[in-house]
Symmetry: C2
Amino acid sequence: MLIESPAAGVRTVPVAALHGSVADPLLESMNFLNEVTARFPEAVSFAPGRPYEEMFDPACITEYLDAYIGHLRRAGHTEQQVRTALFQYGRTKGQIHDLIAETVANDEGIHIAPEAVVVTVGAQEGMVLALRALFADPRDVLLVSSPCYIGMTGAARLLDIDVVAVPEGVDGPDPAAVTAVACEVRATGRRPKAYYVVPDFANPSGASMPVEARRRLLAVAAAEDLLVIEDNPYGFFTRESEPRPTLKALDEDGSVIYLGSFAKTCFPGARLGYVLADQRVRAGDGTTGLLADELAKIKSMLTVNTPALSQAVIGGALVLSKCRLRAVSGDIIDFYRTNLNTVGVELERHFPAERRKSLGVRWNRPDGGFFTVLRVPFVADQAALERSAKEFGVLWTPMDAFYLDGSGARQLRISSSYLRPERIRDGIARLAAFITAETQSSGKDGQQ
Amino acid sequence: MLIESPAAGVRTVPVAALHGSVADPLLESMNFLNEVTARFPEAVSFAPGRPYEEMFDPACITEYLDAYIGHLRRAGHTEQQVRTALFQYGRTKGQIHDLIAETVANDEGIHIAPEAVVVTVGAQEGMVLALRALFADPRDVLLVSSPCYIGMTGAARLLDIDVVAVPEGVDGPDPAAVTAVACEVRATGRRPKAYYVVPDFANPSGASMPVEARRRLLAVAAAEDLLVIEDNPYGFFTRESEPRPTLKALDEDGSVIYLGSFAKTCFPGARLGYVLADQRVRAGDGTTGLLADELAKIKSMLTVNTPALSQAVIGGALVLSKCRLRAVSGDIIDFYRTNLNTVGVELERHFPAERRKSLGVRWNRPDGGFFTVLRVPFVADQAALERSAKEFGVLWTPMDAFYLDGSGARQLRISSSYLRPERIRDGIARLAAFITAETQSSGKDGQQ
């Protein structure tokens, strides 16, 4: 690309292409999705992975803020120290690290020193920090469970890090496949450094890892000298009353770097996430420190520190929950559970066994989270999405952007997080009509 | 560095060193400064470039938030749209771009389309976005006015971009030196891509560019095919009632990318900054777009979007000021002006002409901003800072970290932003005693 001046356009300056392991179509497909959504505001949209927002109340911001200020005062902060905490530059690793450490202990059974917590501008910044700290050499390769969340492939692209896909198995992310791909990568003279995975209700596939598979993955990580980057935005929203243990909770030898987010458990507008990085780092001189402190050095050059405002508001929410977010999130957990069930029930109603067999339509049945994936007998690309929006008033997310090789062309992602159940029923009816029409127009070749 | 597991420490994984154009001592000196500051809480500290914080009032957060919500309602937002704006994921380029465009028009005479504004997590993220967009090739070089703010050299280091220093002249950043260094860089087969400068009251030197020099710099940028990255955190805080025009206000051919920040004009805890990038970008297929949209693509992989909370609170402050921050900032502008004058007056009192000549002590007299630089006849390093803190109860910032070549060993930076005038008078007296003692102990060789 070239820059030209707004005036005569005489000068031109090259702009860096976002080369690397993922192609521009990724961003373009996201932009197209936003653009279609804007053009068809009346359509039922299963596209955004956004949390439901009807329960958000502006008054709660002040309530959370006051709760955090009260917490600081009880902890002995003077009024000047309270002002400093809210308004001034802050600690690079963050100022609510203690509250976060207590919350992950209560909610996830992860016991970690507050010093090992790095508070970030969403989990996205955590991805960039982790990759920048771990990847030193052009031969270093990031393995990702595929299909993969575009935030991680995007972060790798930003840092020009090579990414290799590890295909999900029928039971979700597959430890045996990690071993196989790691060996293939080494055979090419490159070095697998880390494996990125969302073990609970992955975006986009909705797939999860059984507990036994989690233990096998940790064994593989130790055997293959891989670090595991665990991303857990959806673990809260499970069908079972007892969630599965996170990889970090099962991790006994420091294999797991954990990415957390408050975007779904509190709200996205704070852009608050965190990294748990308790690995030890040894310097050349033999002195040791925490990986979290290495991440902080990088963060100081990226965002300096995470906004004190966001930390204060989310910190207040944690204080009000007594650092037990799960315990106070029953209603919203039930809401997402009901929505996910509604998607499954409505799909079943419109595509009973015989019918879906004849049409060649399939979908998975995630144990929780926001996403369901449909496999259809036609190419579910941007043109199809356009027809779906225009003629049937329903939006969804094409899956090809989540695959490094552009496969997944005959899959579409249904997000059930953002809509009320009645709207979901309406939307699935529209989707069923769209799928039926597309399948018929695409003809027999679709049946597979 | 090596990572070892917290357990047996069997596994080791290399961690990427923060190599590049700036050495680790930079961060270490900042860490040392924080550590000394913590160890000597009673010392008068001229070290932090922080804004004064006594006027911060937690109540104003709710006041600003309400003002922004009122602004949205007047603009026709429904209650649901207000909720979405505060709590949900947002526009990648930001949601207060229109308020920022109006404010820079009123306060800086910069007339720019709101679409060319990218709202960032502090100016620091803006630096990373600009560098990642512009620097494509290992031969590309960033020129920086030297001594240079460590945030920019840090951002370049994060992205492994080579940095070459352009020494400040007696009148501050020097256009002729930019031409000379650009030619030297080309002679080595490398390509100068951009020049980073703080034209008003630079951190750390306090130096500014006369208006005529600004025009010459823009001519040099056009002639040398350089983009200028203008960073303007301190332009507000001038001795004159009429501030100098920014480079961006004088820019007629799209040479200038402007980095703005609300950290000093509002408060740092929002971590809110912005980039003005109205350069046109032409794609291979001939379609054109805005550089701001290229920055947004990168931002989507770095922080997704700037926290809506921070935008709402700062947006409210802009609304309350009718997008004329300068007009409502008279008191704080006077405060910083008084503080800077107090530093000069007190230095003059303790080091009258004859005495400073015999001691070999000099300082500059900035027209505004937060910083004054002293040249002393001894090495003002960490050991000297330790003695200054321990024996004289006064802190300052060693200057060597602001130079790529580690020069500036006999300079120290005095920040006058964070203290009350009476505390400044006390602190300069302590500093004078320290400088006198050091000079005498360092003996004749110091006299230069």
